[in-house]
Symmetry: none
Subunit: 122 residues, 4 copies
DNA sequence: GTGGTCTAGACCACC
DNA sequence: GTGGTCTAGACCACC
């Protein structure tokens, strides 16, 4: 995984896990990598991974059992909430970028529709 | 100006000038800040500013006249091109982020329309 | 401050701050020691103090302003809640200890009353 | 048994024996585990157990008969004394903790009574 | 000056 | 093996 130096690594780790949960790649009950394994995998310090895991625990996304590991424990209600939050962020960023380029609401929607049409043809 | 450490600063400077041109805040013929003044303003090394100005000159966005300064020289055709390019980038990023969250084309368009409706009411 | 090795230091730091808030020695708006100063004072690593401060922030007990410091931000409602929680803990520990010694409810209350009487006379 | 690292283990072993005597789980004449067996049971060094047994012997709580083992030898008078001492410690700790939270004598007694009422209902 | 992030590595408790 | 705590110290951003 590549990290954007503009954002704390532990936040990026959390975002990645959230996305995996939303896409169903990680489901409630699944064991995730141990802090040490994950740290080795993405080449960061185990302390940084621990911080990400700890914050996810406080958000009730995962549950940690000492000596056993960390397990996904997110409820579907919570999952829906997270999905909406993340989507809203992307939406806001996108809209403000397009407004910055002087696009009107209608133009933005049209560009989006065009992009989808092109996508279909491929 | 705040710079994202994940991207070269000279690129970010260029993007900023491009946006200003697109929004009409900078028009053909306008004199822009000298490299030294600009460097002082945004607190970066003058060499970095020089690189940004040089690249903009190669793209025919600005023209430098010895002893006089640097002037916007972009044509309206070029401007339209840049605008489309930048918009396309934002669009692609946005779509791939939303797809990452498992949103369908229809859902994305609906979310966008809702966001615009809410924006109106404010 | 002396720390009990049986409990994490950052928890003990938090408990100490909570008590000071309950007793009114720290009031909403008060600036508390900077992480570094506090670390020096109680002779622990600044990272440990930071963890305590961060957890207090998540509990809305304090508020942190970058570059300015950390300030008490607890509401009186929250304060009452904390006070009850801490008292309940002390109460439970005490009762189970006394039950361990085979004291009945009545005996415990009588011992307490006696202790208060003696306290008065001093 | 779990030991609190804040206190010498031999003291904690003694406290545990005292409690068992007070609760009548160990009576005068009972044979207690040999030092080696006890050490194995609670996973501490036999020297630590020996120290605990020796101190209990000096307090006339147990008696060691060469080649036979260690036997409880506490008198009922002594037992009452110990019980009071331990209770007094718990009481003092509890009162000072509650005073720390600004509770008055009356409030402490009321909280205790409430706790007993709730205990009954369960 | 302030807090925030991260690394490297020790040591502990639980399994 | 697992996670939890702590230290020492670097480097950064904000004031």
């Amino acid at each position: 995984m590549l990290f954007d130096p503009a954002m704390p690594i532990y936040i990026q780790i959390m975002e990645d896990f959230k996305k995996k949960m939303i896409r169903g790649e990680l489901k409630t009950g699944d064991k995730i990598l141990s802090q040490r394994e994950y740290a080795k995998l993405v080449k960061v310090n185990p302390n940084t991974v621990q911080r990400a895991y700890r914050e996810m625990e406080m958000l009730n996304l995962v549950e940690t059992l000492r000596g056993q590991g960390t397990f996904v424990s997110v409820t579907s209600a919570k999952l829906g909430e997270i999905k909406k939050e993340m989507a809203q962020d992307f939406l806001n960023t996108f809209i403000s970028e397009m407004k910055d380029l002087n696009y009107s609401n209608e133009e933005i929607i049209n560009l989006l529709k065009e992009a989808f049409k092109e996508g279909e043809q491929e």
